[in-house]
């Protein structure tokens, strides 16, 4: 993913979302990592509910449909569909669990341990790296 803003001048931040660490702080999800270009800079993205709602709307927009149908192989689209399915099922499970009083939505997710918590999505050391990408 490439991010540019006037505050960066002519530079553009290149980020590999596969190496992004995810954590929750109160009413926001925090994504952290290190950029690939122009240098190994630490970055932090704070996303609240409205931002994730915008992501969901973008994922099901006409533009996304046009892009997916022309730019992605079927295998990748099915992969995305799988993740969306997981999101729907997990969210529904948490919602139902919260409704019946089995899950507290504000606590750390001890009841649903996941491989993701121990794998590549775990926080990484934000030390300088060279020569990536």
């Amino acid at each position: 993913m490439k991010f540019w803003s006037e505050g960066l001048g002519k530079k553009e931040l290149v980020m590999d979302l596969r190496e992004t660490a995810l954590d929750r702080e109160g009413e926001a999800i925090i994504l952290t990592g290190t950029t690939l270009e122009p240098a190994a800079w630490a970055y932090k993205v704070t996303m609240c509910h409205e931002d994730w709602n915008a992501v969901l709307k973008t994922a099901t927009s006409a533009e996304a449909c046009a892009f997916l149908s022309t730019s992605l192989p079927i295998g990748k689209i099915l992969d995305m569909a799988l993740w969306i399915g997981k999101f729907v099922l997990r969210t529904a499970a948490f919602r139902i669990g919260s409704t019946v009083g089995m899950v507290a939505l504000d606590e750390a997710p001890a009841q649903f341990p996941s491989r993701e918590d121990r794998s590549a999505l775990a926080p990484i050391e934000t030390s300088a790296r060279g020569g990536r990408g």
């Binding site: 993913m1 991010f3 803003s5 006037e6 505050g7 931040l13 979302l17 596969r18 992004t20 995810l22 954590d23 929750r24 999800i29 122009p38 240098a39 800079w41 630490a42 970055y43 932090k44 993205v45 704070t46 996303m47 609240c48 509910h49 409205e50 994730w52 709602n53 915008a54 992501v55 969901l56 973008t58 994922a59 099901t60 533009e63 996304a64 449909c65 046009a66 892009f67 997916l68 149908s69 022309t70 730019s71 992605l72 990748k76 689209i77 995305m80 993740w83 969306i84 999101f87 729907v88 997990r90 969210t91 499970a93 948490f94 919602r95 939505l105 504000d106 997710p109 918590d117 999505l121």
Partner: protein, 107 residues
């Protein structure tokens, strides 16, 4: 959404994703807009790999638990998915048929 990077120094950029413009380029999705607080333009390019990675982050248990806290999100999203899926399937089919069709030779 608040973006910070070492390249921005002490500044954090508050971006309203729901107000961003979305368009399709050759090999990426292009999102752009203006950060009202500082009156700076911004843009984001999402490549095919990024979309899959974003969905993976969305499906993370912490994100799912976080999203479950908000009412009125899941069912509208499922409804949009149900409407989106046949349109996507039809678009994929159309693109594949167009690619597979032999080129017509002008007499």
């Amino acid at each position: 959404m608040i973006v910070w990077s070492k390249g921005l120094g002490k500044k954090s950029l508050p971006i309203e994703l729901d107000k961003s413009r979305l368009s399709v380029a050759d090999d990426h999705l292009f999102m752009d807009g203006n950060i009202e607080e500082v009156c700076w333009d911004y843009s984001m390019r999402l490549y095919p790999q990024d979309l899959g990675d974003f969905m993976r982050l969305l499906a993370h248990p912490k994100t799912a638990r976080f999203m479950a806290k908000q009412r009125g999100v899941l069912l509208p999203f499922v409804w949009r998915l149900l409407r989106f899926t046949p349109v996507l399937v039809a678009a994929i089919f159309k693109v594949r048929v167009r690619k597979a069709a032999p080129a017509r030779v002008q007499p």
